[in-house]
């Protein structure tokens, strides 16, 4: 209990931010038309690749001879970057399809 209160005390602003991020996430997605569900899913997927930032920081903080960290970090960067780059590119391709239709409108 004390721990929990201490956590709230130390992270009050953070908690506001998190609460708002959650509400915003819900609010922005509700009421999206069905046809856009797939691109949205794909776009959200690309954003979840933000974990790449952690991999970058990990590698930067490592000593140049810490091959374990560097190796795993490298792999993390590769995978994370696939998620980010692939995610945005594939979303863009989907939306390109939708744009085509617009023009004909």
């Amino acid at each position: 209990m004390e721990d929990l209160l201490a956590f709230f005390r130390d992270n009050l602003y953070m908690i506001y931010i998190l609460a708002f991020a959650v509400i915003l996430g819900f609010e922005i997605i509700s009421k999206v038309p069905t046809v856009l569900h797939t691109p949205l899913m794909s776009g959200a997927n690309a954003v979840s690749g933000i974990v790449i930032i952690g991999a970058i920081l990990l590698v930067r903080e490592a000593k140049a001879d810490d091959y374990f960290t560097l190796g795993i970090g490298f792999l993390g960067i590769v995978l994370g970057m696939i998620n980010v780059m692939g995610g945005f590119a594939v979303t863009d391709r989907m939306l390109e399809m939708f744009k085509k239709k617009k023009k004909a409108d």
């Binding site: 930067r60 140049a64 939708f98």
Partner: protein, 467 residues
Amino acid sequence: MMAFDTIVNLIYLIGTLLIVLGLRKLGSPDTARRGNIEAGIGMGLGILAALIARLPDGDNNYGWIVGGALVGSTIGWVAARKVKMTAMPQMVSIFNGFGGATAVLLAMVELKHYYDGKPMAGTGLVVTLAALIIGGVSFTGSMLAYLKLDGKVKDKNVTFKGQNTVNLVLLLIMLAAAVYLYMQGTRGSMALALVVMLLSLVYGFSFVAPIGGADMPVVISLLNSFTGLSAASAGLIYGNLAMIVGGIFVGAAGTILTVQMCNAMNRSLFNVILGGFGGGAASAAGATEGQTVRQIGPTDLAIQLYYSNSVIFVPGYGLAVAQAQKALKELDDLLSENGVDVKYAIHPVAGRMPGHMNVLLAEADVPYPKLLDLDEANAAFPNTDVVVIVGANDVVNPAAKDDPSSPIYGMPILDVLAAKNTVVIKRSLSPGYAGIPNPLFYHPKNAMLFGDAKAMITEVAAEVKNL
């Protein structure tokens, strides 16, 4: 130097806001593409800030980073460009799994450093373990989702009786192991961490296993929100606001998107996760035995269409499987040239992913104004001469309207029987995704044209040309 730190933080802030605003724009057709680009720029800013931020120590190792980033972006880019339009959901699933895997890798390295003696903040261990298990579940879950979607793994190969109980037990074991590791504090070990990691990987797999292959889009969205949460947990390790906010945001967005997708199919998330559909199929199927079906040939259909005033096509999953969209567009062109009014009725959950049909028809250059949504289509049917249902089944099943005992009862459907005539093109009388029989096939107004959608449409088009 203080000023520099502040600038880095501002870059993070702007990046985060661009991501949020970008996803917001993704929610409306007019701005979707711009939104995606903005979110991408936001992500780029976040990465930039991570690259230039001042760190307490470390050798930067930019070589490794740039190398990894180049390899990763190239693979991601090429894969995204090469993949077939119909295989997009698979691709997204793989990408998502990789994000989860990154979180797992980060968590394992941090744990190693921890057991090697590097101190962690009070909540550090909790969030590291959270990143580990959530990322792990997301990783293997996404991989299995990919395999199922791609048809590489069939549902029946990975399902068995009592699976849901086994899953629950597995989940509890995984959580117990993680809690135990946490309690151990510095006395823990990498060996134990590996066990926890393996358990999460196994659970991710077994979590997705019982879920029907066609529900994978929903599952991917759910797993995507997991990846977001694992990214947020990892962000807490580094105290990085962009990761935390971005991750939480995607976590919330993915969750509600999952719920929305379920709603569009008139099912609950719970029902989807427990494997839904399929149970009542066998018994219900008996009801249609002994009923007769009227068949029609391609030539007859060609004549019927040619002399109609208005035709509406209802594309479904079978159209996607048969890759018949281009052939259908050609038939449309032939008919339109001869003064037939041709439209397409798009059910929101036709096919296997939301917007599936829109994307396919857009690929075949069908102009947007020809696409009718559910309400428009249902308003148009009474004045339509022929409705041709191409590889669709559940979305035109009248049982959803009439039969309270049907598992899809209550799902809004395309009410094709309001039209003067209907023709269904599919290979057999076998049921669609929901595994239930379709009384439409036996209705006096309806005729069946059995065969592969692409082959049949092409034949009909050829016949129309000869008229």
